[in-house]
Symmetry: C2
């Protein structure tokens, strides 16, 4: 099959052997798969990321259910925001049928343990023609939700999880710093939850427009007005949760400096580098920092149903559709926030 393969931190288009479903697994063909910022991160910072992963594992007791780390010299097919169609059932499957359209939390297990789909050199992810899923884990796409929207289940789940972990109440206010796909997913869920004041900031006019479309009550260009001042202008009174969805060095300290006393900061932007903070700022204002990652299977299922039932409409997030051959170019294109939010790979 054709696939965009990462090997030694470079992307190439290659022919790989077709994957085969093991017991309890289904072979699927990829219909649509979003390109995620974490894929760009992995390609750029993979070596550092793996070294830190090894340090983190070494600091904890062994966890047999932790996903296998990828082999940087192996053939890794990224892509974990996929919608697929079942084309063949392996032995011992009971839930799926050939022809089912499905989404799935990006993990697959077999007798060797758990593998992260999209971050594995054993099981390919969605930047390929075919992939293997567990019959037990895949969710059928309901309500005729189109595949390109079903592929947004995963990024929306990230926003739902961040909002859930924040413990925000409808009567609180939210400031969302950064309106890339993660910030936009946060805004979509804040809107679904009916949070009273949602103020968002992004340097890109295109992304600001998407933020307003998804329900942000006030959207600002932070180079023209600091987002915290925009919040003070339109609200300034409710308990505040700040969602940091940029993830570059310096943003955490900036969020801490702007935060009112006693506020919560949810760190959902993934800063790959070491960062510098001034703990005295956190202490002086008794801030709470909640780092978040991923989602639960329940949140993933909730995300699918929110999309299928039209509780939120993320169609505008999709700013491009490409084939497998165009994956390497798309990675570069995504660096331009004016041109793109989410690019889907449709093999």
């Amino acid at each position: 099959m054709k696939a965009a393969v990462m090997r030694d931190w470079a992307l190439t288009i290659e022919e790989l052997p077709d994957p085969r479903p093991k017991s309890g697994q289904a072979l699927t063909k990829v219909l649509a798969c979003g390109i995620c910022g974490s894929d760009l991160h992995l390609l750029q910072h993979g070596e550092r990321q793996m070294a830190l992963g090894a340090e983190m594992r070494a600091s904890q007791p062994p966890d047999p259910m932790a996903p296998h780390p990828l082999d940087p010299h192996g053939s890794t097919v990224m892509g974990h925001e996929f919608c697929c169609e079942v084309v063949e059932l392996g032995p011992d499957t009971s839930q799926l049928a050939v022809g089912d359209r499905v989404v799935c939390v990006p993990g697959v297990f077999d007798e060797t343990g758990v593998h992260s789909i999209g971050f594995s050199s054993v099981y390919p992810g969605g930047y390929a023609e075919l992939m293997v899923l567990n019959d037990l884990l895949a969710l059928k796409v309901p309500n005729g939700l189109p595949s390109h929207l079903a592929a947004l289940t995963e990024p929306l789940a990230v926003g739902i999880h961040a909002v859930n972990k924040s413990g925000i109440a409808r009567s609180d206010a939210a400031v969302v710093i950064g309106c890339g796909p993660v910030g936009l997913a946060v805004i979509a869920d804040l809107t679904m939850k009916g949070v009273g004041t949602i103020v968002a900031a992004d340097l890109s006019p295109r992304r600001r427009q998407l933020a307003a479309q998804l329900g942000a009550h006030e959207v600002v260009d932070p180079s023209a007005e600091p987002v915290i001042e925009a919040w003070r202008r339109v609200d300034g009174a409710r308990p505040l949760v700040i969602f940091e969805a940029v993830g570059v060095p310096g943003m955490l300290d900036a969020a801490m400096l702007m935060a009112p006393k006693g506020s919560r900061i949810v760190v959902v932007g993934v800063c790959m580098e070491e960062d510098r903070v001034r703990p005295l700022i956190g202490i002086g204002k008794e801030l709470n920092l909640q780092f978040v990652l991923g989602y639960t299977p329940e949140e993933f299922a909730h995300s699918l149903h929110a999309l299928a039932e039209g509780a939120t409409d993320l169609a505008a997030l999709v700013t491009g559709t490409v084939g497998i051959d165009d994956v390497p170019r798309s990675f570069s294109d995504l660096a331009n926030p004016e041109a793109h939010a989410k690019i889907l790979v449709c093999p």
Copy 2:
């Protein structure tokens, strides 16, 4: 009156004019006043601390009830952990009587607003013979609690507040990193609250002994056994709250690296310098960081009553008693954790 005066970030012994009580205030003589790590910090890092304070104020709307910043060129008498005796009542007082022994949250207000006792160049703190308190705010020392123990109300309240903000349950486990006065106050309150597993670490044998005396179930020398391994040895299963009570650069990142998935880190040690953290560690484990400062008036009163009713016995914390003349030397002595935990100034 005689006082240890800080001016231009140097400590000297001087004669200052006796303070006079205004309306609603009482003049008191200092019986005992503990030397706090934050006083050492202020003397050493005061300039940087004031610059950051100015930056933090500039980033927020004006707060008329925020304490006045001190004048570095003025005469600042530090000392905010005091027990005093009322010697004279100003006009319009109703609660206090001459001869009352009192403690008080270290703030005093008048028609000009609020001043932080011990960090003010207008109202002197406890490293002097006399100080002024508000009649409304002072709490009479109950049960004949000796003054040198009543002076520990403030540092114990810091521990009580940190434990309250952590939201720790009796069925959780606690790791306390650093057994200086703050870490010990945390341990004392964890013990009062009946937290099931308390594991503490300090490089100093003297401080480790105090930690055990105050109720830590397991106390380790972190150079011999990492505290998180000690926790795994004696527990390793309960939800964990880590109290970082050291406050030097690098400790936050170290606490994040040792923390099990999903744990809470309470930052109660005050790191005066910029610090470096790896946000990916926090994200990968979905950690929660709660920065804490001070206490509420209710927690302060609770602390006084816990001491007065013998719910905890902090007598062993007091490792030295000095006069005002010895304050400068005591600041140096406190650098040696083997010799000292808490030094009281008894003018």
